[in-house]
């Protein structure tokens, strides 16, 4: 690429180039359009398959935004931004999976249907 390489700074956040912004934008448009098309056009017969595909597209798009718009790499701030992100992601996974898991089981065990079997 002819643009000066900003990764040479050593610390601080790296910057994007016109090419990287346009690449990120094009990828985001495609990754947004496909899930909307899948849901609005009732393309897949199975709801489960549609849900999983839509979630997969979202996960990929988050990574695309992180790389092309937020310019995340392992070198920024000597790796501390990446470390903070990894720590946050671990917390997010614990919070989301934990809440959904616990509350699903609570709902399942508190169904009024089971009341007849209670002493």
């Amino acid at each position: 690429m002819s643009a000066p390489d900003h990764a040479e700074h050593g610390h601080g956040a790296s910057h994007g180039t016109l090419k990287s912004y346009l690449t990120g934008f094009a990828l985001s448009v495609v990754l947004t359009a496909i899930p909307f098309w899948l849901v609005m056009g009732h393309v897949l017969d199975s709801k489960l398959a549609t849900s999983l595909t839509v979630m997969a597209f979202a996960a990929v798009q988050v990574v695309v935004h992180m790389v092309y718009f937020l310019h995340l790499d392992s070198k920024s701030e000597n790796g501390w931004t990446m470390l903070a992100l990894i720590f946050t992601l671990i917390l997010v996974v614990i919070v989301l999976s934990g809440s959904l898991w616990v509350m699903y089981h609570l709902n399942a065990n508190m169904m009024p249907g089971d009341m007849s079997q209670m002493p």
Binding site: H15, Y21, V54, T81, S99
Partner: protein
């Protein structure tokens, strides 16, 4: 010897050693973004747990209009790329172009907010208020918090347009634009989660 005994053992810095001004701002702001991310994680968790509790009220299928959400998503995505153009203009030291792209970004942000507010007004007019069901409470909290962030983002963009106009692209303004860039793109990342989990999966449910 009249000096106190501890004087030779205790060592401490009387002054902070020198840091360049703003040297740690980028990392500090990133940590703020991460803590904001945790706020949204809690709200997503609440929506995930409560999103199916309609209390015999309307469900996402009855309420949400996906074409409108698609337009809204487009607005936010366009504002992301135009903010990128503002940052590129900043790196080229082009003051006018930076301000112009910031203005375009603010317009797209306002379009997003306008569509979202009209959607909220429509829902409330139909009786789908936050008080109607746990699903609607968690929906308005999650999407409303995101909308509030966008509102403050627009206030910040307008502030930076004035700052750049007054002082030019000085180091402090570049640093602030860098932080705003993180903030604005982060809001788009959160919106990916919102349109996927709230709208698309909600309509599928």
């Amino acid at each position: 010897m009249d000096t106190p005994a501890f004087s030779k053992d205790v060592f401490y810095l009387t002054d902070e050693h020198e840091h360049a001004e703003g040297a740690s701002t980028a990392l500090g702001f990133w940590l703020y973004i991460m803590s904001d991310c945790l706020i949204f994680a809690m709200l997503f968790a609440a929506f995930g747990v409560l999103g199916g509790n309609y209390a015999a009220g309307p469900s996402p299928k009855d309420l949400f209009e996906l074409p409108l959400v698609a337009v809204n998503t487009t607005m936010l995505l366009l504002s992301s790329i135009t903010y990128g153009f503002a940052m590129l203009a900043m790196e080229k030291n082009s003051k006018g172009a930076t301000q112009a792209w910031l203005a375009v970004t603010a317009v797209f942000g306002l379009c997003f907010l306008g569509i979202e507010l009209s959607e909220f007004a429509h829902l409330i007019a139909e009786g789908a208020t936050p008080q109607r069901s746990a699903f609607l409470s968690s929906f308005f909290t999650l999407v409303g918090t995101h909308g509030l962030h966008v509102t403050f983002g627009i206030v910040w963009i307008l502030t930076m347009m004035v700052q750049v106009g007054r002082h030019g692209l000085i180091a402090a303004n570049r640093r602030r634009l860098m932080c705003l860039s993180l903030f604005w793109h982060f809001l788009d990342v959160i919106w990916i989660g919102v349109f996927t989990f709230v709208y698309l999966l909600g309509v599928l449910r």
